[in-house]
Amino acid sequence: MWALGLLRGLGHSAFFLVDLLRSLPWALRRLFLTIAQIHSIGNYSLVIIAASGLAVGFVLALQGYYTLSRYGAAESLGLLVALSLVRELGPVVTGLLFAGRAGTSLTAEIGLMKAGEQLAAMEMMAVDPKERVLAPRFLAGIIAMPLLAALFSAVGILGGYVVGVLMIGIDPGAFWSQMQNGVDVWDDVGNGIVKSVVFGIACTFVALYQGYEAQATPEGVAQATTRTVVISSLAVLGLDFVLTALMFSAPR
């Protein structure tokens, strides 16, 4: 029984995803709706993303210096900070924050629209809520997530510079030039971008699905919001391992 329920849920969400993908061309035709959503999903996440990026950059520089200085490789601190952020921490931490900041608000908004019969009203007006409400949000999430992840990494590198160069006193020339030599556009930055796009798709999809399928009651919306965070976070961590393994190659 339990397995059947799980399978049914998976099948249901797969059909939902197909519907959502079919509605995407509609969202492309009415771009201003998507732009409004990028504003509300992306812009309002800027502060938390920047603050977290800075904090992670600070800590990475401190911890990295601690380890690297044992091998007399403290000059490589810039490279370590940049690689860790661009390849791994940028997409993953942004994905987790995105699920908590933007995913929950999407789920709650759509769940409450459903509870207030707004989606049913739209349907009775011959407007498909999947096209009018969900598709622009889906597209906005997919666009916003890589931008936020890039911003997270950039701010994190600045944080690493502040701690490594300004506070610890590593040579700024070595900090930047090692980073410039060691980070590959395709292998490292590309790797991070692919991850952040995938996480954007996963988090936004989970949030929209949970909102759309929420029970139309206060408890129902509360549970759906919780599930959004739990499922998105697990999806980000699981997908991260899969993607890292698939794109893994030894540095040249």
Binding site: G116, E117, Q118, A121, E123, M124, M125, A126, V127, D128
Partner: protein, 267 residues
Amino acid sequence: MKNDNLVQIDRVTFGYDQRVILSDITMTFPRGKVIAIMGGSGCGKTTLLRLIGGTLTPQRGVVSFDGSPVNPRDRESLYALRRRVGMLFQFGALFTDLTVFDNVAFPLREHTTLPEPMIRDLVLMKLNAVGLRGAAQLKPADLSGGMARRVALARAIALDPELIMYDEPFAGLDPISLGVAANLIRRLNDATGATSLVVSHDVRECFLISDYVYVISSGRIVGHGTPAEVQASDDPEVRQFIDGEPDGPVKFHYPAGEYGADLGLRS
């Protein structure tokens, strides 16, 4: 020959799993009339509206709109049908992120390519018809329940529908708003030449504004006719409903075991 009945419900049965909501219902809604469907809470009135709107499929029987059957599986024709139908939801179901003006403009912007000045004029005309032109820039959160429902009504008639469906338009309104709502339903029906379908349990208001009344109880039609005919009916279920008696064919108690036994007074 043009069909005189805008909507026809022919021997429709509907239920979820074992529970039967509507059984073998036949109704006709002639053009230009206000038809009231009355019955207690949970008797299947709202289900009937959903069947006409095509969000539910009858298990047996046919619902037809303007001569052609409603088919929920055919998206194109269903959406074409819905463009000719306006529906007022019980609590208005206004879009809370849009202003009153944008709510009323929503169907116009979605379904027409009219220039913005023309949409503005149309919206103001619809809002004026419900007496809320002055509230155009308010948000739904700033409106009272009665006002929200009038805005929703303006939105429902934005595309000049042929059929307007009202789901409990009187529920939870104060006496003044109630009189306003009843008056509006009748006036809009006569002014636009639409057909109106009012689902309600408000006996007095329904008799006042409707041309024809159906009384439903536990999924069956127990009485129908003009308001005068229904009021004179001597069917016990109809009488209980319109006189509001607490006990009768519809029991006060939900089916239960013997009271004494539940309290442990007798073994």
